[in-house]
């Protein structure tokens, strides 16, 4: 029965686990209070909206040439608000990880499952190809259509990725948009979950090009 100690530890931190159990040291969040301390470190790159100043939203030191914008105000309260904060942190950490070629590990706090796999794929690709980023990606019409048991939520958002470009780091020349033309405008469905430390992260994403119609059609540019 002594062997229960470790499993008990794991179980205790396992569900919904993760952040509190993660080996990587916790990284500080933007101080609370809804104050002005969350202004981007440089330029307007990290958010460009008042929502970026909300408690819990992580800021990233993007250069002025890279902007990750969220146009939809955060939900007022509750798990909806927490889930969207988790989603915005996920998206910002994704692009900051790409921009830094993985030097920033913040994304590990905000992504798991195929969302994490996707970030790692992009980091590898941009590192191997010597690309950096330039331009603006816009997340708009963000909603939380479903909340489950107060600790899981579906986040849906339209994304305009047509203005964010891969740039050759050595020549400064653009090498096309970050995604194929098909994903210039698309809808992202993200699974948000509450972690043991009370913050939320993204465990799974599915993405549908606006051109394919259906509910994604409303995201068309």
């Amino acid at each position: 029965m002594g062997m229960r100690i470790v499993p008990a530890l794991l179980v205790a931190c396992a569900i919904p686990l993760v952040a509190g159990c993660a080996g990587s040291p916790p990284q500080s969040f933007v101080p609370g209070g809804g104050g002005s301390s969350a202004a981007p470190a440089s330029g307007a790159g990290s958010a460009g909206t008042a929502a970026a100043q909300a408690p819990g939203l992580r800021k990233f030191a993007f250069p002025g040439s890279v902007q990750v914008q969220f146009q939809t105000p955060l939900p007022a309260s509750g798990p909806q608000r927490a889930a969207v904060i988790g989603y915005e942190n996920y998206a910002r950490s994704l692009w900051y990880a790409v921009y830094t070629h993985g030097s920033s590990k913040a994304y590990q706090q905000f992504a798991s499952g195929n969302a994490l796999t996707f970030i790692k794929t992009l980091i590898r690709q941009y590192t191997a190809d010597g690309y950096t980023l330039r331009g603006t990606i816009v997340y708009f019409d963000t909603t939380v259509p479903s909340v489950y048991y107060g600790a899981g939520a579906l986040v849906e958002s339209c994304v305009n990725a047509s203005g964010l470009f891969k740039v050759d780091s050595s020549t400064g020349k653009e090498a096309g948009t970050v995604f194929s033309a098909k994903f210039g405008f698309y809808q992202e469905q993200a699974s948000a979950g509450k972690k043991s430390d009370g913050t939320w992260w993204i465990g799974h994403t599915e993405n549908y090009p606006a051109a394919d119609g259906g509910t994604a059609g409303m995201c068309g540019g």
């Binding site: 686990l17 080996g23 489950y148 994403t205």
Partner: protein
């Protein structure tokens, strides 16, 4: 991702979990550079399947065939996730767990399920890596249960073969995984990703456990309504069909495969049937409409071949453009479960529409 395949190869969990956790559709393996990685794709937002395949559906189901067929139409609001009896005590652990890919001993059990879920949580995975003997200790817990001992300190003993491992199952899409994250956070299961319990009857009120209503919802979402075809008499080829002003045209509908579909969803595990839900449908109610605003419709709401409805057109089709006859067929869908629960689905309505076009002419007569 590779480790997941190693742990679960041979398990019914593989396809669903790989899809749910590591779906990289639309993400080419472009680590070599030069490519464009698009964001992860997904299955269309309808006709999803469950992840573990723990619910089987037979009868008239989407996509045809048994075993769940083409999946669940989320238009009908099935539950996104739930707990269900997945294994029993004799399926707790086996030598060599978690089994590796290709192992002849590989089989689904509670131990392997735990590990498959743990891999979805990189923080936990990392923690396990930092604790000496953690893997063995975790496996030993399941081994205790396999040997009839409760692994929860102070828990009821002995653990008999009738005891059940409850595990999450969910629809294989973003909503399903959202739901299961919430469920795992709220259910406080005694083994993290699984809950070991003595036998319990269905609908006992335990939060998260699949209920009669949940299973009926899945059965409804899996139900495929028949294809409906509209026929007219006199017949003929669609746009050239002869129908005549002021002369009744008979209209009837046929159904493939039949007019009253049904299906049954079941939760079974090694301990036997836990719960089943059967969907039955009423006789179809038919409503006929047409694009001729002046037409008279004698609609008996059956419009069968033996008792057809009648449409009397008021005017010929203009400029050769046919009128459209539309049959809207509606069923009342009811459910009953193996533990005696019953209900009726009312929203959204269960409807199928089918159309048929006719060219209407005036009868030319010679008088005087």
């Amino acid at each position: 991702m590779n480790r997941r395949v190693v742990f679960l190869a041979g398990s019914a969990l593989i396809a669903g979990l790989v899809a749910a956790v590591a779906s990289t559709a639309g993400v080419p393996a472009s680590a070599a550079g030069g490519g464009t990685s698009d964001p992860p794709g997904g299955t269309p937002p309808t006709y999803t399947k469950t992840v573990t395949g723990g619910v089987s559906v037979t009868g008239n189901v989407n996509g045809g065939g048994g075993g769940g067929g083409g999946g669940y139409d989320e238009t009908y609001n099935p539950p996104a996730c739930w707990l269900q009896p997945q294994y029993n005590q004799p399926q707790s652990w086996q030598a060599g767990d978690p089994q590796e890919s290709g192992s002849p001993q590989a089989a689904p059990d509670a131990d392997s399920f735990w590990w498959s879920m743990a891999l979805d949580y990189p923080g936990l995975e990392e923690e396990i890596g930092h604790v000496p003997e953690a893997r063995n200790d975790i496996n030993d817990d399941f081994k205790m249960v396999q040997n009839g001992q409760n692994d929860v300190p102070g828990g009821q003993n002995p653990v008999t073969s009738a005891w059940v491992w409850w595990a999450p199952n969910w629809l294989d899409d973003a909503a399903g995984w959202s739901c299961v994250q919430g469920l795992l956070g709220a259910a406080n299961m005694n083994n993290g990703f699984l809950d070991l319990e003595p036998p319990q009857p269905p609908d006992n009120g335990t939060p998260g456990q699949i209920t009669s209503g949940d299973l009926a919802g899945l059965a409804r979402a899996a139900l495929q309504l028949p294809r409906v075809t509209v026929h007219t008499r006199p017949g003929g080829q669609s746009d050239t069909t002869s129908a005549y002003v002021n002369a009744p045209t008979e209209v009837y509908v046929t159904y493939n495969p039949g007019p009253r579909p049904s299906d049954t969803a079941s939760v079974r595990y090694a301990g036997g049937l836990y719960l089943s839900a059967t969907i039955t449908t009423s006789a179809p109610q038919v409503q006929i409409t047409t694009t001729d605003p002046g037409a008279t419709i004698d609609d008996n709401h059956t419009c069968s071949q033996g008792a057809p409805c009648k449409v009397t057109f008021d005017s010929p089709t203009p400029n050769g453009q046919p009128y459209t006859i539309t049959a809207t067929v509606t069923w009342t869908v009811s459910w009953t479960t193996s533990d005696g629960q019953t209900g009726v689905f009312t929203n959204p309505p269960s409807q199928v529409q089918a159309t048929h076009t006719v060219i209407v002419r005036e009868i030319q007569t010679v008088t005087g």
